[in-house]
Each structure stands twice: as structure tokens, then as C-alpha cells.
Point group: C2
Chain length 245, copies 2
DNA sequence: CGAATAATGTGTTTATTTTACACATAAAAT
DNA sequence: ATTTTATGTGTAAAATAAACACATTATTCG
């Protein structure tokens, strides 16, 4: 064990010594990558960018960037989103950090991955970089580096997370019908749900507010529109909890 | 948006250019910290080390180290565990990455946090560093830097994770009684459980094997001993899943 | 303008899961 | 042998989830 005394939290040393150690030993770059989910035409999508590397010109990539020394990880993720989508205040959550030695051909790059959920309608208003594309998640093939693996991880994360936390609403317009909400869940979970039970379940969770308006321009009986009420959610959090021992 | 063209995945550039970018821009150190849970005397514990920094001599700290440029994050975590506990093959899982700018006085250090669960009985056989201590989680006060915050996050993680994945067994000896298993869950979840329902639940999950032995040296009727069967778990995974829509 | 179309809105019955709860049994200690 | 202590088991009630059908409302088309 004595031969391990060269590391960060062993052997007595001064703060100053620690500082120089921190600044000299590490040659690892740190990036943030964002898996940005959207929902459009009843399909779950992910926002990708055409790789800016000549060698990988026809490959798409997640949106990411190196973390700046003076910014928090979350701040970095928000910055990337802001730069790329023009939007603030998106739902954002850290999911996992990927750091295999060979994952990036540019050297050792460890990437902290965030998931974000955006309302595509709203988003479409902004003019965007032409290399950005919303890809259907079902037809995703190869991505840059290990980005496909990262995406797969995040998609599984989303499927689980959406059942224990009301983050799905971030993918919808402020006003939505229950049908739209159900379509969203069906797209994320990739299975059909019973319409009556779905409705019952959401009402019992008590996070929706009937805003007294109906859908417009639908070729059939319009449904009522609802909005998500975060305060109601806070009061009814326990209903979103899973199994208990 | 044009003024954002200096980052990792924008603007067309060569792989070579990317390499030098990766190697020059980042001045961020990367560490791994391990929250090592143990279970002893019916109490949940965490393995801490007395800080090796003069300034923080009376403060305890998680076990961590800088990540080496040539090692994967998981490898790094395993190395730390091996060095500090002498054990291989411990349960290990990445939980979260903490990277606030001011979290470490030695400079910008982003830390990837892993949780590990060890069998304290087994562990005690090894001779350990004298600065290591098993602390009861209930009486944890201040820890080094943001380690208390990190610990709290991991404890919440454990409480949730133990209900959806059979990782708790890593905290027990190979052979255990149902009472010991229940004590473990009660310690982790911090609440009393009904003995009959607990037993029923675990049997219905179908991951335990009766090994045909009884407890020894207990001052009362001995309980049967069981072991955890990972293959059975693989077959019955779905029973560990939470709510479904 | 009426009929056909298409999706909304609502309740009940059944099955499953979870909770609450009590007594006989086996070993150890006295 | 009696007392102590914790094990081992089952059932009834309550809550939750699943399966399922029909009347309603707006639109579209003839």
C-alpha cells in the first residue's frame, strides 16, 4: 500500500503541493455532449450535427464542446444548448460520463453527457445552423465516435426517467391534448397504451390543469387542452415514485 | 452563431487540428472518487480516509485519486478500491460527475463519482491503512470539500437503486439469513419493514437459494441461510422493474 | 342538410398487487 | 421443564392495474 502514496488523497502534503499536482499530472480533456430530444409528427427525434471533421464529413454527431476552465459542467451544457438551439431554460439533466481511453481519436477526452428535452415547435421559430438535423430515433445508424453508444444509453435513461419524473412535458407545447401526451409516451416507450387507463393514470397523478380550451383545426371532435402544473407536481411527487419495500 | 466556431464540434477542421486543440485548451484535472458502502452491526457505513492535507487534518474524505491518462474511468475506480481495500471484484457503479468550478481548492478538478458496496466481514481480513475508517452514515458531519454533498447524493442513489437492482447482496456475506437481509434493507431505507411481507416479496422475486444450512451461535431459534443467485436474477429481472405505463 | 366518419370522454368489472395482521414452532438459556 | 426470543407461515382487506364498450361531438362528404 505504501507505493500508492503518490496520488491525490494519500500521504501528507500541503495545499500548494496539491495545486501543482493537479495542474501538472492530468493530460485529459473534458467535454460535454448533449443528447437533445425532440418530439414532432408523433415521433421522437434527436438533434444532431453534421461532423465538422473532414474525415467524418458524412457522419452525424451529438452537440458538444470542451468545457471551459472557468465554467461549471451544467453551465457548459446550457451554453452548448444556447449556442446551438438559441434557447434558454431547456430541461437539462446530467446522465453519465463516458471516458474510455480510445473513445476519441483526438486524444484522451472524457465527456460528461447531458440529456435535454426541447419543444420542437417553439424551437423551429429560431433560425438554426444548416448542419443541424432532427433525426428520427428509429432510423439512427452510425454516429461519430462512440456517440451511438452514448445515445443508446440516454434513450434507455429517458424511457426510465419519463416514468418517474414529469420531464416529458418539456417536449410538448405549453398547451396539449391528452392524445398528444399519450402519443408522446407511446413514442418514448415504444408501445401502445390503453387510452382510458392512460387518462385515468394522469388524472390520478394530478399534475394537469384543464385550461378550458379545445384543440383547433382537427378533422374530428377536438380534445380539451391541458397544461402541466409544476406546483401540483411538487405536491403530488410521491405518486411518481415507483415500488416500495 | 458564427462566433461559436472555435469549439470542438463546429467549423470544418482536420483531425490533427482537433488533436492539438484537445491537448491545449483544457486545463481541467479529472479525478475519481468512491463512496464505499459497508454494512456492519446492522448499520450502514461508509469508508472514509483522514485527509492527507495538513490544512484539513481532522476532516475525513472519500477515497479518490486523479485519473491516469491511460486508464478508463472504471479502471481508475477499480484501482482506487484495490489500493485502498485490497479487494478486487467489488460491486462498482458510476453515479454522477461533480464539476463545480470552486469545489476543489487545488484548482479545477472535476470528479467522477462511483459507488461501491463491500462486504465488511470479508474486508476486515485485510490489513488496512490506519487512516481509513468505517463511519456510520447517520453520524456523518462535515467532510472534505464537497464530499458531504457527494455522499448525500450517493446515499439517495443507493436508496433508490437498491429497490430496482439486487446490489444489496454485495454488502452481505455469501450466506445470510433473511433477517440479516431485512436488517440491511431497513438500514438503507431507514425504516421498519414488515417481516412477513418482506420475506414474501423476496421469495416472489425468486433470487434466493436455500443452501440447507442454519445460522450458528444465535441465542434463539436459528434462521435458514440463503445465498443470492445471479442467474436466477437474470431470469427474473422484470420483477425488479418499477411502475409501468 | 343529413349521414358517415373519426376521435373524444367516461365507468365498471376483474385480476393483480400490496398491506395489515396472529399464532404455532424451534432452539437456547435459565 | 419452563421461559425467552426470534423464526416460519397464511389469510383477509385494501389498493392498484388491466381489460374492456358505448354515447358524444365536431368535421367531412355526398
Amino acid at each position: 500500500m505504501a507505493n500508492t502514496k503518490t496520488n491525490l488523497s494519500n500521504s501528507v502534503k500541503t495545499l500548494k503541493g496539491l495545486q501543482s499536482e493537479v495542474q501538472s499530472i492530468n493530460r485529459i480533456a473534458l467535454s460535454v455532449d448533449c443528447v437533445i430530444f425532440g418530439f414532432d409528427e408523433n415521433k421522437l427525434k434527436v438533434l444532431l450535427i453534421r461532423s465538422d471533421l473532414k474525415k467524418y464529413q458524412n457522419t452525424f454527431s451529438l452537440l458538444g464542446d470542451l468545457v471551459k476552465p472557468e465554467e461549471d459542467l451544467d453551465t457548459s451544457a446550457y451554453r452548448i444548448l444556447k449556442q446551438r438551439t438559441g434557447l434558454n431554460d431547456l430541461y437539462l439533466e446530467q446522465v453519465h460520463t463516458f471516458g474510455e481511453v480510445g473513445r476519441h481519436p483526438g486524444g484522451r477526452v472524457v465527456t460528461v453527457v447531458y440529456c435535454s428535452l426541447v419543444n420542437v415547435q417553439h424551437h423551429r421559430l429560431k433560425t438554426l445552423d444548416h448542419d443541424l438535423h432532427w433525426h428520427e430515433i428509429d432510423s439512427l445508424k452510425e454516429l461519430l465516435f462512440d456517440h451511438k453508444k452514448i445515445f443508446d444509453h440516454c434513450y434507455v435513461w429517458l424511457q426510465k426517467r419519463v416514468q418517474e419524473h414529469p420531464l416529458g412535458f418539456s417536449l410538448l407545447p405549453n398547451k396539449f391534448s391528452l392524445r398528444e401526451l399519450q402519443n408522446l409516451y407511446e413514442a418514448i416507450l415504444h408501445k401502445k397504451l390503453d387510452r382510458r387507463n392512460f387518462r385515468k393514470k394522469f388524472f390520478s397523478m394530478d399534475v394537469l390543469v384543464d385550461i378550458g380550451e379545445d384543440e383547433q383545426n382537427v378533422p374530428h371532435r377536438p380534445g380539451k387542452l391541458y397544461k402541466f402544473d409544476y406546483e401540483k407536481y411538487e405536491k403530488n411527487k410521491k405518486k411518481w415514485q415507483g415500488i416500495d419495500f
